[in-house]
């Protein structure tokens, strides 16, 4: 809210600079976010008023805080209407007193509608309200800014039946508001009506039909209290927020509204003449201040201070809260403008605020020592992140959203779990309207973006949640790690001929090794967006934990990279499952003491057999002396017949109990070779 320093001075005799006042307001909870000095010699504060302090949505409200801070008297604006006044011709009926707690009004006859005086226009404009060249409307706005209470002026000659009714809309479902827009209403919206028609949407905006125009002579000025919830709902339903609704929905001062009415009536008479009539005031249930009991010791304990009784009470009185000492406790009576104060903690807050947060000492809590822990999951995620990072992948973080077209881009089939996505009701953009069910589309976008920026060696990964819709409960949230890899085939200093697929597979294997996860297998993948011959589903003890593979040509081509056959590798793994497979504890195994003997075996087999298949055969050969088997060559072409390939394995023999002799290893190895040849139908590459 914009607060003019010069206007503030009407109510409190400030002798310090605007900067000092700005600072003390900030330190009292009314944060001044900026000071505008561009308006003719004045300083206008931009005050951030929190939703609990509607009493500060006015010059007077801010003045009250300034007066309390500097212990200065508050000068109230004149609102005393002298003399015998003619009785009002207009009656008021509140049909829904639960939504309108008080309604006052004054008829003013014979006013002259004109331009407002300069000083008034000036103040309005400084505070961000445009003058409408209509003194009546300008004055209601002026009083709204000054005293914080929204007012409304009707053209009294447009009212029929001499009555104002405050009632729910019921069947009257439409109104053309001041801005000329016809609006549909809900039956619960609170309306101001006369005998025949709808005059205004209570607390939000007046109607066009009853508005004050240049030809208006007689006006009826309204100052009422509408229930905050009712105004908020109406304003939200219509998407119509006004200075009035903003204040009503936060809560206005049910007592002070009469002063605002009078203040406006006097200003109208001053600028436009006219005869002010007697007040109409329907106030079914008078305001009674709440009684809040506060324990002195508890208040001190909660704040960590040692304030004297008197000190506490005086500070509250200074901000308008009535107090009564009752021994160990005191009673506090918040005024009508502090509707936010309802419990003892609200009083404790006021004590803290007036004492000054800066004066409360800082200390470290006396508490039982507890071991702060990164929990199991947190530690696991950190290790995964660190390992993947060290294999050369850079971490990205994407929004949790995806576009409706993202799943089509990678052809996720209907019926796939990833099609069970959630939609946002109010997305910022259509491209961000769904919650993601896979990390892949965003990673593809990250790749394409960086490619377009000139990067040619791109390795990215992300650890984030995905969301799968469920019926009748919150969605399933699953933690995933996804990654993307692309490296342009360009001459480089240190030739590395590995295929992209194996570089990424290697990164994942580093991850599994680091996490001490064994028993993982790579099997042909069923993901339709991955190259059939260059992809794998990764299983851990029979459970699928993810996939890795090259994007199919269709997807790669859709990126318009202008690269022939780009090899773009993506992967995604389920971190929840990986964490579930982490070994609980590690147990030490003795390091081998005896020497090893090494033998190689190179066989030529049918190309359809996989390395893992042959490895399985070797591993199924029972010998206590085989320590490790490692593949070190895979070769096709040359003197290897078409449809066949050569695989070479290195086998380490070792006993945990003694030194093996060459001859016993030789005999085991020979048996192994025969076994492998028989099982694979292969032949030895080098006949000895």
């Amino acid at each position: 809210m914009r607060v003019s320093f010069e206007w503030l001075k009407d109510f409190v005799n400030i002798s310090v600079t605007p900067e000092e006042v700005s600072h003390s307001l900030t330190m009292a909870g009314l944060e001044v976010e900026g000071i505008d000095t561009s308006v003719g010699g004045d300083s206008v504060f931009e005050v951030n008023v929190t939703p609990n302090r509607p009493d500060c949505l006015s010059i007077l409200g801010i003045a009250r805080e300034v007066a309390a801070t500097y212990r200065l008297p508050l000068e109230m604006p004149g609102d005393d209407i002298q003399g015998d006044l003619p009785a009002s011709d207009i009656r008021v009926e509140i049909l829904n007193p639960e939504l309108c707690h008080r309604y006052t009004g004054r008829l003013i006859k014979g006013v002259t509608i004109s331009d407002s005086p300069e000083w008034l226009k000036n103040r309005l404009e400084k505070c961000g309200i445009r003058s409408l060249n209509n003194n009546i409307v300008d004055i209601t706005n002026y009083v709204l800014l000054e005293m914080g209470h929204p007012l409304h002026a009707f053209d009294a000659d447009k009212l029929s039946g001499g009555v104002i009714k405050v009632s729910k809309a019921g069947k009257n479902r439409s109104i053309t508001t001041l801005d000329g827009i016809e609006r549909e209403l809900s039956g619960d919206a609170l309306l101001i009506m006369d005998a025949k028609k709808t005059l205004a949407l209570a607390g939000v905006m007046g109607g066009e039909d009853s508005s004050v125009t240049s030809g208006t002579k007689n006006i009826f000025l309204e100052s009422a209290f509408f229930a905050p919830v009712s105004v908020r709902r109406a304003s939200k339903e219509l998407g119509l927020r006004t200075e009035s609704s903003y204040r009503f929905e936060r809560g206005t001062d049910i007592e002070f509204l009469e002063n605002a009415l009078n203040r406006a009536a006097l200003l109208i008479r001053e600028t436009g003449g006219g005869i002010i009539h007697e007040i109409v005031d329907v106030y079914p249930e008078k305001f009674k201040p709440a009684t809040i009991e506060v324990n002195y010791a508890r208040a001190n304990a909660l704040l960590g201070v040692k304030l004297e009784k008197g000190e506490m009470l005086k500070s509250l009185e200074r901000i308008g809260i009535g107090v009564e000492d009752r021994g160990e406790v005191f009673h506090a009576f918040p005024p009508a403008f502090r509707r936010d104060i309802t419990g003892h903690i609200d009083i404790v807050e006021e004590i803290a605020r007036t004492f000054g947060y800066g004066n409360i000492p800082a200390r470290l809590p006396k508490t039982i020592l507890s071991g702060g822990v990164l929990n199991h999951k947190e530690r696991g995620i950190n290790r995964i992140r660190e390992t993947v990072r060290k294999t050369g992948f850079t971490e990205v973080v994407n929004y949790s959203f995806m576009s409706p077209s993202d799943l089509d881009m990678i052809s996720i089939p209907a019926g796939d779990k990833r099609r069970r996505h959630l939609g946002l009701r109010n997305p910022l953009r259509q491209e961000d309207s769904l919650m993601r069910t896979t990390l892949v589309p965003a990673l593809i976008n990250n790749f394409a973006y960086n490619f377009s920026m000139g990067a040619r060696d791109i390795r990215l990964f992300e650890i984030s949640k995905i969301f799968i819709a469920e019926t009748d409960r919150l969605p399933t949230e699953g933690l995933r790690i996804g990654g993307i890899f692309y490296r342009e085939n360009i001459p480089s200093l240190w030739k590395e001929s590995s295929q992209a697929f194996f570089i990424v597979k290697g990164a994942l294997q580093s991850l599994f090794e680091e996490m001490k996860i064994g028993g993982y297998t790579f099997k042909p993948s069923e993901e339709v967006f991955l190259h059939r011959g260059k992809s794998a589903d990764i299983e851990l003890k029979g459970t699928k934990i993810g996939f890795i593979g090259e994007l199919v040509p269709d997807v790669a081509e859709s990126l318009n990279l202008k690269v022939r056959k780009p090899e773009i590798i993506v992967f995604e793994l389920n971190i929840d499952t990986i964490l579930a497979f982490l070994p609980e504890r590690l147990t030490y195994r003795q390091v081998p003491k005896y020497p090893f003997i090494e033998r190689d075996i190179a066989i030529i087999i049918d190309d359809s057999l996989t390395a893992a298949g042959v490895m399985d055969v070797i591993n199924s050969f029972r010998s206590e002396f085989i320590e490790t088997v490692e593949i070190f060559d895979c070769y096709k072409g040359g003197n290897i017949p078409a449809g066949r390939k050569s695989l070479a394995f290195r086998i380490i023999f070792r006993s945990g109990k003694r030194t093996l002799t060459d001859s016993e290893v030789e005999s085991v190895h020979r048996e192994l070779v025969e076994y492998v040849l028989e099982k694979t139908g292969g032949e030895l590459r080098y006949r000895s």
Binding site: L302, G304, E349, R363, G392, Y449, K465, L474
Partner: protein, 337 residues
Amino acid sequence: MDDLFSLKKAFLEEIGSVDDLAGLQLVRTKYSGKKGLIRARLRDLSSIPPDKRPLYGSTLNDIKNFIEETIRNRELIFKTREKEQRLETEKLDITLPGNFTPFGRRHPVNQILSEIKDIFVSMGFSIEDGPEIENDYYNFEALNIPKDHPARDMQDTFYISDDIVLRTHTSPVQVRVMEKRDPPLKIISPGKVYRCDSDVSHTAMFHQVEGLMVDTGISFSDLKGVLELFIHSLFGADTPVRFRPSYFPFTEPSAEIDIGCIFCSGSGCGVCKTTGWIEILGAGLVNPRVFEMVGYNTDEYSGFAFGMGVERIAMLRYSIDDIRLFYENDVRFLNQF
């Protein structure tokens, strides 16, 4: 005897012309090999008349030792020379770059997040996690933000349905923890949160760390102590800190915490809007209404809660002026951290 002297002479001549280990080996074989000239003389010793044999034998032995030693010396020289030559010729251009795959970088937001977690963990806080898609109850109502309350305007919310929202803060985690566990509690809940807002200082998704401490006798003073310690750990021990009143529905008294502007050291600049202060945290004593909703005894227990935006801290740390950079995921940006 003469043949012995001519043998030595011949040896000296030959070895004099040997220039490498290979030539040396030939000489060695010729003279001191198993079928070499020395051995032959030794074998023929019996043909020397007995009276001359001792002198002949000792002379032969001297020559044998001389030859062997000379060869050994030569060998040592040649080997040394060869090593020298290797060191001289096997020369790399050591200015060529090394062969390595650079490590990837952690996202700057996650780097700061780790720092924040580490500080609180070292103070005995433990880390709690919760859903990002939440019930309205946990995100709002249990935190004293009823439907139709103006405080809902403080957070622009993404809705999935009337009752399901993208969490606007990580405070719902605190409620879920309090429902399950009794005090004392010292927890932080880091994670992603969502607000429908987008400009240079707002993104629709960002990261928060919120914390909660509940015990008997917890005061505003404790809140100040813990948060000052945190700020000093994160920004340096001489960073000025100030607490000023604010409003959050789930805390009371509520505070916003500013640090002295790290760009202008408090003298006023564009970042701090000339105030000299930068807001960094929101905090307060837990509102008793929140405790009532989870069934904690408000006479016995009190506590404090706090929350901060991780991107904001990262922006301050690295002088980043547009929050959206974090989500562009440009490697030229990411590789700087």
